[in-house]
C-alpha cells in the first residue's frame, strides 16, 4: 500500500452515512448507561425505603430531645448531633489545613528524585489503606491513654484526623497536579516567588478538586463508627459536648444502637435519624458545591 499511488477514497463512494455507530460501540454505550442506571437505581431504592420508614418520626424531637432508653416516643438524638458536629468540626480544623499543607509541600516543593520524598509518597499511599478500626486501636493506646486525653471529643477528632489525613493529602495532590504546568511557569517567569505562584495561581485553580477531596474525606469522618466505638463514642450520653474534653456520642453509633433494640419504635426512630443524617450530609455537600462554583466563576 502506498500513500502516493492510491487515491484515498473512490469518488463514487461519497456516502457519509457510514455504518453509523458500530454495533459494538452501541452495545458498549448501552452497557455503560446500564451500569450507571442500575447502580443509581439500587441506591435510590434503598434510600427511599429509609425515607418511607422514618418519615412519620422525622420531626423536631430528633434534634430537641435526648436519647431515652425507656420511652422511644420521647427519644431524640440531640447529644449525638452535637457530638457529631463537635467531633467532625474539630477533625476538619485539624486535618484540612495539615493535609493541604503537606500536599502542597509534596507536590510543589519536594524534589521527587530524592529517596526521602519517594518514601513519604509511598507511605501516604499505604496509610490511606490502613483500616479505620486500626486507627481506633491506635487512638485508644496513644491518644486516649498515653497522651491522657481520655474518651473525649479531642481524642476522637485527633484519631479521625489521622484517619482521613492520607485521603486529604492524596486528593489535594491530585487536584494540584491537574493544574497545568504552564500556569506555574507563567507566574514564575513574572518574578513571582514560588509561594506567590502557589497561593495566587495554583491553589485557586485547584480549589474545585481540593474541595471535592475534602468533602469525600469529611463525609468519611462523619460516617465512621468503628474507631469511635473504641474511643468512648457511646450511646447513652444525655448532655451535649461543651468543650474538647467532653464526653460525646455521634450519630452513626446512636443509630447503630437503636437498630439493635427490640422495640419497633426504635427502628423507626433509627430510620428517621438516618434520614436526618443524610439531609445533614446533603446540606454540607451543597455548601461545598456552592463554594466550588463561586471559585470557578471567578476564572
Amino acid at each position: 500500500m502506498s500513500l502516493t499511488q492510491t487515491p484515498p477514497m473512490p469518488t463514487r463512494d461519497i456516502s457519509l452515512e457510514g455504518r453509523g455507530e458500530p454495533i459494538g460501540d452501541k452495545i458498549f454505550r448501552w452497557l455503560l448507561l446500564t451500569a450507571l442506571l442500575l447502580s443509581m437505581l439500587f441506591l435510590v431504592v434503598l434510600i427511599s425505603f429509609l425515607v418511607i420508614k422514618g418519615w412519620s418520626r422525622l420531626d423536631s424531637r430528633i434534634w430537641t430531645n435526648m436519647p431515652n432508653p425507656r420511652r422511644p416516643q420521647l427519644a431524640g438524638a440531640q447529644s449525638a448531633i452535637m457530638g457529631t458536629i463537635w467531633v467532625v468540626g474539630t477533625t476538619a480544623i485539624i486535618s484540612i489545613p495539615t493535609g493541604i499543607a503537606a500536599a502542597i509541600y509534596l507536590e510543589e516543593y519536594a524534589d521527587r528524585t530524592k529517596r526521602f520524598n519517594q518514601l513519604i509518597e509511598v507511605s501516604i499511599q499505604n496509610l490511606a489503606a490502613v483500616p479505620s478500626i486500626i486507627f481506633g486501636i491506635l487512638g485508644l493506646a496513644f491518644i486516649a491513654r498515653r497522651l491522657g486525653l481520655g474518651f473525649t471529643v479531642i481524642t476522637a477528632a485527633l484519631t479521625l484526623s489521622l484517619l482521613i489525613l492520607p485521603t486529604v493529602i492524596i486528593a489535594t495532590r491530585e487536584a494540584l497536579r491537574a493544574v497545568p504546568q504552564s500556569i506555574r511557569f507563567g507566574s514564575l517567569a513574572l518574578g513571582a516567588t514560588q509561594w506567590q505562584t502557589i497561593w495566587k495561581q495554583v491553589l485557586p485553580a485547584a480549589i474545585p478538586g481540593i474541595a471535592t477531596g475534602q468533602i469525600l474525606a469529611l463525609s468519611r469522618a462523619i460516617g465512621e463508627a468503628a474507631p469511635l466505638l473504641l474511643l468512648g463514642g457511646l450511646t447513652f450520653v444525655t448532655t451535649n459536648p461543651t468543650g474538647l474534653d467532653s464526653a460525646y456520642t455521634v450519630l452513626p453509633i446512636q443509630i447503630y444502637n437503636w437498630i439493635s433494640l427490640p422495640k419497633e419504635e426504635y427502628q423507626i426512630l433509627a430510620a428517621a435519624t438516618i434520614v436526618f443524617l443524610l439531609i445533614l450530609l446533603l446540606a454540607m455537600n451543597a455548601v461545598a458545591i456552592f463554594i466550588r462554583n463561586r471559585y470557578q466563576k471567578r476564572l
Partner: protein, 302 residues
C-alpha cells in the same frame, strides 16, 4: 490449615455417636461467645464434618436474627424480653432457655487502694446513681481518704451494664453518664490500673485474668461482705451481682442432627467449657436442673 491440637492443656471430651455434618449457627451476646467458641472448637475436633460459626451481634441483635430463623442458637447474657419472645412466636420459632454458666460481676479498684475492702449495695448505688454527685472517695464513706473517684465501666450496649444498673440502681440502664465507658473491658482494666482512685466493674473473667493488677471489692448485699469467687457465685452468697448466662437453642433447629449434637455436647460438658472460658460453672443443683431440662427439650423436639 488445621489448628485443632490438644497437645497442651486439657483434652477434648469426645463426642459420642455417629459422624455428623452440616452447619451450626450461633450468635448473640459477646459475653457468652467465648464459651460458645470453646464449645464449638471442642465439638469440631470430635466432629470434623460440622462447621460451627459464632457471631457476636449482642444479645438483642442475636435474638433479632434468632427469631427470624437466621440462627440456630442464641447466646444471651440476660433472659429473653417479651418483645423478643413475641417476635419469635410470630415466626413460629420455639426455643428453650438453658443456663450454662454463672458470672460474677466484679467491682474492682486500684492495687494501691488500701481503704476500700467492701462496699454495700447502697454505697454502690450512691456512686452510680443517674444523678450522682459523688466524686471523691470520702463522699462514699467519711473514713475514706480524700482521693478523687475515677469511674470506668462497660458500654451502655452491653448486658453487663444492663444487669449492673438493674441490680444496683433498681432500673435497667439507670446510671450516671460521667464515667469512662468502653465496649472493651481491657480498657477498664487499664483505666483502673492507672489511677489510684479508680473504680470499675466487669465480668469475673477479666478480673481473674488481671488479678495481679487489680483488687476486687467485696460486696455487701445485706448479708455481710462477700468476695466474688467461684464458690460464692455457685452457692449464691455473692448477691446481687452474680448472674446466669444462657443459651437459647431453637426447637426447629435442634431437629437437625448436628445442631442437636452440638447442644448436647455443650450442655454435657458445660463445666469444662465454663472453666476454660474463665466463667463459673453451675452448682450441682443447677447442673441437674439443666440436664433434666435438656432431656425434656430433646423429647419435645424429637
Amino acid at each position: 490449615g488445621s489448628s485443632a491440637s490438644t497437645t497442651d492443656g486439657g483434652t477434648a471430651p469426645s463426642a459420642s455417636g455417629p459422624a455428623l455434618s452440616g452447619a451450626v449457627r450461633v450468635d448473640g451476646s459477646s459475653t457468652v461467645a467465648p464459651m460458645s467458641e470453646i464449645a464449638a472448637q471442642l465439638f469440631q475436633e470430635a466432629q470434623t464434618g460440622v462447621q460451627v460459626t459464632v457471631g457476636t451481634s449482642g444479645t438483642g441483635g442475636g435474638f433479632e436474627k434468632f427469631c427470624a430463623g437466621e440462627t440456630d442458637i442464641n447466646d444471651a447474657s440476660r433472659a429473653i424480653k417479651d418483645e423478643e419472645a413475641a417476635a419469635c412466636e410470630a415466626k413460629g420459632i420455639t426455643y428453650e432457655e438453658f443456663t450454662i454458666a454463672l458470672d460474677a460481676l466484679t467491682v474492682v479498684v486500684n492495687k494501691e487502694n488500701t481503704w476500700a475492702k467492701c462496699l454495700t449495695v447502697e454505697q454502690l448505688a450512691k456512686i452510680w446513681a443517674p444523678d450522682s454527685t459523688v466524686n471523691n472517695w470520702n463522699q462514699v464513706d467519711p473514713t475514706f481518704p480524700d482521693e478523687k473517684l475515677v469511674l470506668f465501666g462497660p458500654g451502655t450496649d452491653s448486658g453487663t451494664f444492663d444487669y449492673f444498673t438493674a441490680e444496683i440502681n433498681g432500673e435497667e440502664g439507670a446510671s450516671r453518664t460521667d464515667f469512662s465507658p468502653s465496649e472493651n473491658d481491657n480498657i477498664t482494666v487499664q483505666g483502673v490500673e492507672g489511677s489510684k482512685g479508680g473504680m470499675g466493674y466487669f465480668g469475673f473473667s477479666y478480673f481473674e485474668e488481671n488479678a495481679e493488677k487489680l483488687t476486687a471489692l467485696e460486696v455487701d448485699g445485706g448479708a455481710g461482705c462477700v468476695a466474688p469467687s467461684v464458690e460464692t457465685a455457685q452457692d449464691g452468697t455473692y448477691t446481687p451481682l452474680s448472674r446466669p448466662l444462657f443459651i437459647y437453642p431453637s426447637g426447629t433447629a435442634i431437629q437437625q442432627a448436628q445442631v442437636l449434637g452440638f447442644v448436647e455436647y455443650y450442655i454435657t460438658n458445660n463445666a469444662q467449657i465454663a472453666e476454660e472460658a474463665l466463667f463459673i460453672p453451675l452448682n450441682d443443683e443447677q447442673e441437674a436442673a439443666l440436664q433434666a431440662k435438656f432431656t425434656a427439650f430433646q423429647a419435645a423436639n424429637a
